[in-house]
């Protein structure tokens, strides 16, 4: 039986890119903090990777936060990529696909791929 935990980690890779890691389960309880952290990083002009590869559950408030941050990044010309396992049976991938957000968000199958994509987007 897995222990249900819920953690948000922020890793500043350099002056241009930061990674927010949503570890474990995230819903309306943690979505406000997630939004605040996203706002702060994007507000500093950073490009952001959201690492969902170790998320075991996300709800619609987390999806809403992702969507809002995506729009914000777009307006600022900053990169915004979410790392989501490509496995279609993965619960997190599933809610993103069922809601059609896979057509709106830029996704990569893992953290390294997302970091590469966000740097490419920034430089390209």
């Amino acid at each position: 039986m897995t222990v249900p935990v819920s953690r948000i980690g922020v890793d500043r890779l350099d002056a241009d890119v930061a990674v927010i890691d949503l570890f474990g389960e995230h819903d309306l309880t943690t979505a406000p903090e997630f939004s605040q952290r996203l706002d702060a990083l994007l507000g500093e002009g950073l490009s952001v990777v959201v690492d969902l590869s170790r998320s075991t559950f996300i709800d619609s408030s987390v999806l809403a936060a992702l969507l809002a941050a995506n729009r914000d990044a777009d307006e600022r010309g900053s990169g915004f990529v979410a790392a989501v396992p490509a496995d279609e049976t993965d619960g997190v991938r599933r809610v993103i696909e069922v809601t059609g957000l896979d057509q709106v968000l830029t996704l990569a199958p893992d953290r390294a791929g997302a970091i590469e994509a966000v740097r490419r987007g920034r430089d390209g």
């Binding site: 039986m1 222990v3 249900p4 935990v5 819920s6 389960e25 819903d27 309306l28 309880t29 979505a31 406000p32 939004s35 559950f57 709800d59 619609s60 408030s61 999806l63 809403a64 936060a65 809002a68 049976t89 619960g91 599933r94 809610v95 069922v98 809601t99």
Partner: protein
């Protein structure tokens, strides 16, 4: 009409409590051998329905969120209910909009129905087949839900008690920031209580109250047969190492209630 035998959970409608619902229902679904993808979808549907209650049901203060889950042929039915003012979409911070909530429930479940209205509260009834092939569609039936108070749960005292109780204890201990070791102590104690179900429960139903109080978990389980408390403590002894699971708890005692004997367990975050 009384509710069919199943899991009943009543908790304060706060966002951080929705994880309890999610895990109790997932525990029941897994114990009924629901396919993994369906369990994941059910967790989403139940979370969305519960969050609707947290956000919309009560204008002032915190009211009850009530969940009933029961097997019906080869599906699990989950009812999420509040006693508030009725779901009314209100202008709110766009970031936490629930525009996606109801469509998600619709997309991921075999069927769902919403009923209720102003002053009558709202009820969302979800049906999810146990197997992944979508079998088990049928008509949802009306049920009367009994009123509950606080953080309480009741369910048949059979083989499903252990997985559900261990999940609920685990989520509450994690939320109270128990260390991994202490969390697994708490779960072991829960398992010890469930081990002799259904024999120890004269009514065939286990009533469980779990509460977090300043870094301690209080777990009350019953009604038990008279003397079941002593048998439970005997059952915790581990002769091979001369010890007892009893030492993991800070307090275990039997309390008499109107309807029988209950075991009261106190497990603090740090062993005393």
């Amino acid at each position: 009409m009384s509710a069919p035998a199943g899991l009943e959970l009543t908790i304060p409608a706060k966002a951080e409590n929705v994880a309890i619902v999610r895990h109790a229902v997932a525990g029941l679904a897994e114990a009924l051998e629901m396919g993994t993808p369906n369990v994941a979808d059910l967790k989403t549907a139940v979370t969305e329905a519960s969050m609707n209650v947290v956000v919309h049901a009560y204008e002032e203060g915190v009211g009850p969120l009530q969940v009933l889950a029961y097997r019906e042929s080869d599906a699990l039915v989950v009812v999420v209910r509040d006693f508030g003012s009725g779901i009314r979409p209100r202008a709110e911070d766009e970031r936490h909009s629930l525009r996606l909530g109801l469509p998600l429930i619709a997309a991921l479940t075999d069927s769902f129905a919403i009923s209720g209205g102003p002053g009558r509260g709202t009820e969302v009834k979800i049906r999810m087949s146990l197997s992944s092939n979508g079998a088990g569609r049928g008509e949802l039936q009306e049920v009367e839900l009994p009123m509950g108070r606080g953080t309480e749960m009741s369910m048949p005292a059979g083989e499903l008690l252990a997985p559900v109780l261990s999940r609920v204890i685990s989520i509450l201990a994690a939320r109270a920031n128990f260390s991994i070791d202490r969390l697994s102590d708490a779960v072991l104690l829960g398992d010890a209580i469930s081990a002799h179900a259904p024999d120890d429960f004269p009514e065939g139903t286990a009533r469980i109250a779990v509460e977090e109080d300043e870094g301690s978990l209080l777990v009350k389980v019953g009604p038990l047969l008279k003397g079941a408390g002593d048998r439970l403590l005997d059952g915790m002894r581990i002769p091979q190492i001369g010890g007892s699971l009893e030492r993991l708890a800070d307090e275990i005692r039997a309390v008499q209630e109107e309807d029988g004997e209950y075991i009261l367990l106190r497990i603090s975050r740090l062993p005393e």
